[in-house]
Amino acid sequence: MCLAVPAKILTISDNCAVVDIDGVRRETRIDFIEDPRPGDYVLVHVGFALQKIDESEAEATLAQIRACFGGPDDGR
């Protein structure tokens, strides 16, 4: 229902960040994010960051996926 994409925060000024999405940049509001920092990944929807993307959680999910079938250890 709601299109949102992961994006990396490049720079921050006040409550606006420039984010990078696979080489595409756009100004994005970060008013809803606790303690945003350059380098953080956020989920962007209609020009607003909705949540930080937690890389350790992403790794944990992938580990859980791999545990289901015992590998492969590395994705492509």
């Binding site: 299109l3 999405i21 080489g23």
Partner: protein, 342 residues
Amino acid sequence: MQKLLDGLPKIIESAHGTGGRWTHELIESVFLPYFRSQPLQSLADQAVVPESGTGRMAISTDSFVVTPYRFPGGNIGDLAVNGTVNDLLMGGATPAYLTVAFVLMEGLRVDHLVEIVQSIANAAAASAVSIIAGDTKVVCGKAEDGLFITTTGVGFLPGGVNWGPEFIQPGDKIILSGTVADHGASVLTKRYNLAFDTVIRSDTASLLPAVMAVRDLCGIRCMRDPTRGGLATTLAELSQTSGLTLEAKELCIPIRDDVRGLCEVLGLDPLYVANEGKLIAVVAPDVASTVLSRLQATEVARDAAIIGTVTKSAPGYALLETAIGAKRVLELLSMEQLPRIC
């Protein structure tokens, strides 16, 4: 640039279309300096050109309307030449002559017009076509639309070149000459003022080097340039006309990361986004690797890839094999894609 504009009006006015003195001044100061073919310079009512003598002539005509008319990687002038030249090339013809008709909106900036005319001249030179006739009208329209251009191209077919969807056979390979969706992606962000900062440029280009690199090979069944409607629409059309199934593999279709990223943000399917400098070649399996390597040796088709095979599995429909091996039908594009939130 400034020097070229000295003495020219700043904007187009209705008087430039009256056929009188203002029209003559516009033609002489803006068009003729760049369009230097002999038939055009003579300002006769018609162009008289030599016959080629090979017996078969190809003709194609197309109107070009694009908002915005200048975009990263080119402008409407590049499109108007390359579009028609590429249409001739897709039948295997060598492009020779071009006519150009302009419909200018009142209020169009003359510096923009000069830039576009220069692009037309450069693009024509790159494809070795002569601009032999032209026309200009001025209408009252939306100034931001700028201008519409209609080009008609004439080319000549060498003996032995007979391409068309009716020659496609099961087992043939489908080759795409490069990345998809570059043109549409570059235009879209500008069209809606979406404030995305990208280095995506339109792929507008002449396919002359690519076609000339492979035209002598036996086993080329058909070529198409997937412009409006994108790759998917062209595969669907070729399937419909041939009564066969053009099956492409999603993972084999080249796409730039930033174009994919932009399409994901805006909710667009890149397979339906326009290209302006790409071709699809359907070729016999035994020449596929030769065609591929010759295409890859040209600049305009350096990212060429074999993206699929012709089968009989769903006659008349194009199929896309997804990452997990499922197959879905590629329909004709039914409506303009708009950026979406859901």
